[in-house]
Symmetry: C2
């Protein structure tokens, strides 16, 4: 990429932007020039970052990003506290909740199991999840845990591990995974074979 080492500060900004998902060195340079073209843009992003650094924390119960001790979901009295959905990321929690299909609460893992990269059960927050389940079971409010990981190798491994760990401790607790099947709005012709196979195995009475 064209760089004249015009300014170490500018290079540092390009490098920092290039770390963002979706950006490479070239688009990061374009974004940096865009920001430099108007001081207001630069200040707006700088203020937004400072605001996030100062105000955003993790919800004490579900670990989603929020600005108070409990997030709007965990403090919503109309939610069904007997249902707990375990997700891999904040983005997954937002997507599930936007589907309006889940009336219960959530728990956000820190990613998914990936032993090759040294991401084990502790790294994704298994202890915190077990503590949460234990407290809810002790309080007699938990009926079901949905392990909402994706049907990818890592998502499968994470689900199997969590399901085994929870079943061992609480054999009478209902524990489920999201259904596997055809996505809405996609022709079978254009659906990948692994998805079709999953939908065949999980076929249900009409």
């Amino acid at each position: 990429m064209a760089s004249l080492r015009l300014s170490p500060s500018l290079d540092a900004l390009v490098d920092a932007l290039a770390q963002l998902p979706g950006f490479g060195p070239r688009s990061a340079q374009r974004a940096a020039f865009h920001l430099l073209q108007d001081p207001k843009r630069l200040e707006r992003l700088e203020r937004a970052l400072a605001g996030v650094r100062e105000n955003v924390r993790r919800c004490k119960k579900c670990r989603v990003f929020c600005e108070s001790e409990l997030c709007p979901i965990c403090s919503d009295e109309t939610r069904d506290k007997s249902l707990l959905c375990v997700v891999e990321s904040v983005a997954d929690e937002l997507a599930l909740d936007a589907s309006l299909a889940w009336p219960g609460l959530y728990f956000v893992l820190s990613g998914r199991l990936n032993p090759i990269d040294g991401i084990g059960p502790e790294e994704i927050g298994l202890t915190a999840l077990v503590d949460r389940i234990e407290a809810d079971v002790a309080a007699g409010i938990l009926r079901e845990v949905v392990v909402a990981t994706s049907y990818t190798p890592e998502g499968d491994a994470t689900a199997y591990y969590l399901i085994a760990a929870v079943k061992k401790r609480y054999p009478h607790l209902r524990i489920t995974r999201l259904a596997r099947g055809l996505p809405s709005g996609l022709e079978i012709e254009y659906t990948d074979l692994s998805t079709i196979a999953g939908a065949v195995y999980a076929r249900r009475d009409a």
Copy 2:
């Protein structure tokens, strides 16, 4: 896009990131979550923005971004001061200079003429360019001005206007545009017709 209004600060960051070229609301949310996952990432970008705000300014002569009064190009004594290349943006100056084909100096316009959006000669810095040329002509050091705008409607309009303005003031100054023709490494078969036509009209003796 899935949003729970979890945090006004987080929303403000997503909105600010979504303004960057190459980002939309969805990728901006992904980038914001990526930054939030590690406080170090957030701080790094914040520090980089502050560094740019504090240190980066425009070169007094060519208006490229730099950290001192004159940029490394303008203060480079080995450059041919009789050749001035007028470009639309800092990115264009970097690209031209990375080609290693231009031994002279530069002048960066603030974009290109776009009367529909109210971008006239003043807005793109014509006065500053004329001042620059006047000073160089008075000092007897200027031989040629290349108007290096692209062969797009706005680039063409900008070039015609600048060429006319400079010719009127300095009829004896050589003023050129970059050659129009086939790009390197692209088969004629896959080249757009307007580019092929331009290359035919500008054909040269072999």
